[in-house]
């Protein structure tokens, strides 16, 4: 046990004394986060507003709303779908028309508008539009307004969790190949081989040490996101942090093992970074780090779903945005775990001291 502790201490010291490792694992992701977290991806366009119609006396009202050019109407089938769309940001608010709504006597059963916290402008816009559609003299007599317990985080809420996942991957793969290859080349590993520790003790010790660094990095990045970019993590749910640390742990070990496997299998020292780039580069774009994988053509979507980073990013994102319980992130955790097992076996089988 003491061996592992010494490894953790020694590896952490070396990590923090290396300027490159600080640059790539903290400085670089933080700058990327600040840039992308403040990015306004879309310029102004009319907000999407959902309409959930339960009445059959609303035809002309809906038609009038659809003709409006200050909002885009999106038809919605159930209230669950409506809340989901609010959370995801595909609509900014939704109008619900009750089943006894009759556009001739709108005051008798008032339609409702549900918007998100902090979206006052959108709420007012929809209120005014609906009131004029219904020829209302006083809004509150015709429309009931609700504010749902949802805060929309915009693009930063999408991209920060993605960048956290990306940083786990980059740190995991590159920190291992650059240090391990130089240890191999310099014969440091051979000297370790001459000590009574076994290869598995070395691998496990190294993994524990490096994954603690990755978890620290994840926490630092998220805290930066919270305090500098105003990210809200998990809407106050403790599960969010538990899940994020779990993904950081499993994802960290997975990518470290990929790094180990690359350094074991690459034919020369020069080819290892190239091989690592070949693996990480497609994942940056296909795993939903910067944009949702729904934007990709369908056949590429299948590839995306097979990549580990996709699931780690979506697990961290769902936890950050919605504070999902650990149970509901089990599919992503499980997928990551399967990848981890496969890669760990490869790296344990192919490990060489020289």
């Amino acid at each position: 046990m003491k061996i592992y502790l010494s490894f953790i201490i020694a590896v952490s010291k070396m990590f923090f004394r290396r300027k490159q490792s600080i640059f790539w694992s903290l400085f670089f992701p933080i700058v990327t986060m600040l840039v992308f977290g403040n990015l306004k991806i879309i310029g102004y366009s009319a907000p999407n507003v959902g309409i959930l119609n339960n009445s059959n006396q609303a035809e002309s009202t809906i038609q009038k709303l659809e003709e409006s050019n200050v909002i885009n109407i999106v038809k919605i089938e159930s209230s669950a779908e409506a809340y989901n769309a609010l959370e995801k940001g595909s609509i900014a608010a939704f109008i619900e028309l009750p089943n006894n709504f009759d556009e001739k006597t709108p005051r008798l059963s008032k339609p409702s508008i549900t918007s998100r916290k902090g979206d006052k402008a959108e709420l007012q816009l929809v209120e005014n539009l609906l009131a004029s559609t219904l020829d209302a003299d006083e809004i509150s007599k015709y429309v009931q307004s609700n504010v749902a317990d949802i805060t929309y985080q915009g693009y930063k809420g999408f991209v920060i969790p993605g960048l956290v996942a990306m940083a786990i991957m980059q740190n995991g793969i590159f920190s291992v190949i650059f240090t391990l290859l130089s240890y191999k080349k310099q014969g440091v590993l051979k000297r370790l081989q001459a000590t009574p520790i076994s290869p598995s003790q070395f691998i496990v010790g190294h993994l524990i040490a490096r994954v603690s660094i990755i978890i620290t990095q994840t926490i630092i990045l998220l805290i930066m996101g919270v305090f500098v970019l105003g990210l809200s993590v998990g809407q106050g749910s403790i599960f969010a942090w538990i899940n994020i640390l779990l993904f950081s742990l499993l994802g960290g070990i997975l990518f470290l093992s990929i790094g180990l496997a690359i350094s074991n299998l690459s034919p020369s020292e020069e080819s290892a970074p190239a091989l690592a780039n070949l693996i990480t580069f497609p994942m940056l774009f296909l795993s939903g780090v910067f944009f949702p994988i729904d934007f990709l053509p369908k056949f590429i979507g299948y590839i995306s779903n097979a990549l580990p980073l996709t699931h780690i990013a979506s697990g961290i994102r769902n936890s950050t945005l919605y504070g999902n319980s650990t149970l509901s992130t089990l599919p992503q955790l499980g997928f990551t775990f399967i990848w981890l097992t496969i890669v760990f076996l490869i790296c344990a089988k192919t490990f060489k001291w020289e």
């Binding site: 003491k2 061996i3 502790l5 010494s6 020694a10 010291k13 070396m14 004394r17 290396r18 240890y183 310099q186 014969g187 440091v188 051979k190 000297r191 370790l192 081989q193 001459a194 000590t195 009574p196 520790i197 076994s198 001291w353």
Partner: protein
């Protein structure tokens, strides 16, 4: 202390070590001499448990090196030919890390003092001179208080002062009762340090004896050196002019 019988190491197309046998007694300094590629390092690395022999056997303190490798590793101290350690750790951190890997509780200051690096204990590995790197490597070899020490070309590339310092260290380890196996290309070094030497060529041992017996044997056979033997060597001149003290500290 060390017992080697018919040790052979074959690689795909070459036989690096070809059925060699020798014994090393407790407390002895034993030299392995031979040209490059003769099989010295391979032999030493088999004894250190870094390579598996193709056939034959070797024991250290009655422990089979290829079967009880872990036990063997814990009673030997190793200085490898290419000396490198973690660049971002200080010397005392390196010694402490290795002590932990051997589950040994040693005082890193005491060990660094022994090899004359106490003043450098907070320095990193990278800026050290060649001689200092070698001495750190020796210090690391001592962390588990080993019974047997393996030194693979410990003085290659060192200046005469640093070499003499290294000889002093090796002699002091012998005084502590340690058994030492040494490979070297410097015959005068072998003559000064080794109780017995094995001369290896092309994977085979040609001769084992004490340096002075080997010299006697040669001169009795009628050998005459073409070089006139003088009272001093150029190295004596060099040391006399520049002094014995180490230059790097």
């Amino acid at each position: 202390m060390i017992n080697v019988k018919n040790l052979t190491k074959k690689y795909e197309d070459i036989v690096a070590v070809n059925g060699i046998s020798f014994e090393v007694n407790e407390g002895e300094v034993f030299g392995l001499l031979g040209p490059n590629g003769a099989g010295k390092t391979t032999t030493v690395e088999i004894l250190e448990g870094l390579r598996k022999p193709s056939s034959g056997e070797a024991t250290i303190n009655n422990l089979d090196v290829s079967k009880e490798t872990k036990k063997v590793k814990s009673i030997i101290g190793v200085q490898l030919q290419s000396v490198n350690f973690f660049e971002e750790l200080s010397l005392s951190e390196i010694v402490e890390l290795f002590a932990d890997l051997y589950s040994s509780n040693v005082d890193s200051n005491e060990i660094l003092d022994r090899v004359g690096l106490l003043k450098k204990k907070d320095s990193y590995f990278k800026p050290l001179s060649g001689g200092q790197k070698q001495r750190l490597s020796i210090a690391v070899a001592l962390v588990n208080n080993p019974k047997v020490l393996f030194f693979d070309e410990p003085t290659t590339g060192l200046d005469p002062q640093a070499r003499r310092n290294m000889w002093g260290l090796i002699k002091s380890f012998q005084k502590d009762g340690k058994t030492i196996v040494l490979t070297t290309h410097y015959m005068e070094e072998a003559e000064i340090l080794c109780d017995r030497v094995a001369i290896i060529d092309e994977g085979k041992i040609i001769k084992i004896n004490s340096p002075s017996n080997l010299i006697d044997e040669l001169t009795k056979s009628g050998f005459k050196s073409t070089k006139k033997v003088r009272e001093a060597t150029l190295e004596d001149v060099f040391i006399n002019l520049t002094g014995k003290s180490l230059r790097e500290d």
